[in-house]
Symmetry: C2
Subunit: 200 residues, 2 copies
């Protein structure tokens, strides 16, 4: 490759190949696509990556990424100050924002407890969560972690950690996904859906 | 989304989503990955995209992309000036360079003839190919186009176009791919492989 692609292009391809979802081959395709769409895509992307590299920061309050500290969500006066939603990652925060189910603030843990991967309580933003939950304004902490073993372990750890506080700790409901077919669901989900059935 | 991700991040996600192989969801994952690997990936990518946007140009001689005109391959004195390899795209050029099968120069057509898609002879770099093939130094033109209907139509068009020149026009061999199993090959490939069988 080095003989046919110059070092500049080779470097771009190598960096693109490190993005999740792209490999060496698709990174080459992406690089060629960028060069073909020079005005429409390559130049704007150069600006956009530079702006994000220079300006995007992690919010020291909640762990969200934005161009200001505190982030736009933490600053938003319309958000309910009584509710904190605990999520594993910024992508989960974005998913909940897209669903627009709640108008509250978030707390990004930056992972979940995972003894096998060597992730302990000190590796997560748990101390700052305890601090924020101790704020008298906070009435409820909604734990919105993945329904995996590690996610549920972390949920229990947080419940224990916040037990001494006068704050209500809740978690997302388990059940049949909207649009889901019973035939394709695992037994655990069906049992949860039956146990937590609601009156019509 | 607009409320949770700032406009800078949103713009980066939108541009990444237009790369081949990435969609809206994987573009968000890629953007978050970039922010997480700020020093190792985001800042270098910002530089790399800027450098490519500023410096990479299309070679006016062969159609390759590089930082100089003529490109490194056209300038390389070790390349055989007697052989021209005709390819559809820069990615095909790169594929042949990786195979390192030939030490010759290239001519990138920028597509193949496709009446259905409205691609005619004037849309491809055919006039410049005729010009280069007319150079007395060129003894052979190897047509390395895809073995598709459009690729073969284009190969025939080029053969006709160069007929009056004292140049040998060849094409890549058809046959069993190295490592390929006969059971999985189509009849056309098997017929070609039998017709063009070689003595052991």
């Amino acid at each position: 490759m080095a003989s046919s692609t110059g070092p500049e292009l080779e470097r771009l391809i190598q960096l693109l190949a490190r993005l999740p979802g792209l490999g060496p081959r698709s990174a080459r395709r992406a690089a060629l696509h960028l060069i073909r769409k020079r005005e429409a895509l390559l130049a704007p992307l150069a600006d956009a990556v530079r702006v994000v590299a220079d300006r995007v920061v992690t919010c020291t309050a909640c762990g969200n990424v934005d161009t200001s500290i505190p982030c736009a969500i933490c600053q938003d006066p319309r958000r309910d100050p009584a509710v904190l939603i605990v999520v594993e990652s910024v992508s989960d925060l974005w998913a909940l924002e897209r669903a627009a189910a709640l108008n509250a603030r978030y707390h990004v843990l930056g992972g979940v407890l995972s003894p096998l991967d060597g992730v302990g309580p000190d590796d997560l933003n748990l101390a700052s969560l305890a601090e924020r939950a101790a704020d008298p304004a906070v009435a409820e902490v909604i734990i919105a972690l993945n329904a995996t073993v590690d996610g549920q372990t972390t949920a229990h750890f947080i419940t224990d950690m916040l037990q001494h506080l006068p704050v209500k700790v809740t978690r997302l409901a388990h059940g049949v996904p909207v649009g889901g077919e019973l035939d394709y669901l695992d037994e655990g989900t069906l049992v949860a859906a039956i146990r937590q059935r609601t009156t019509l």
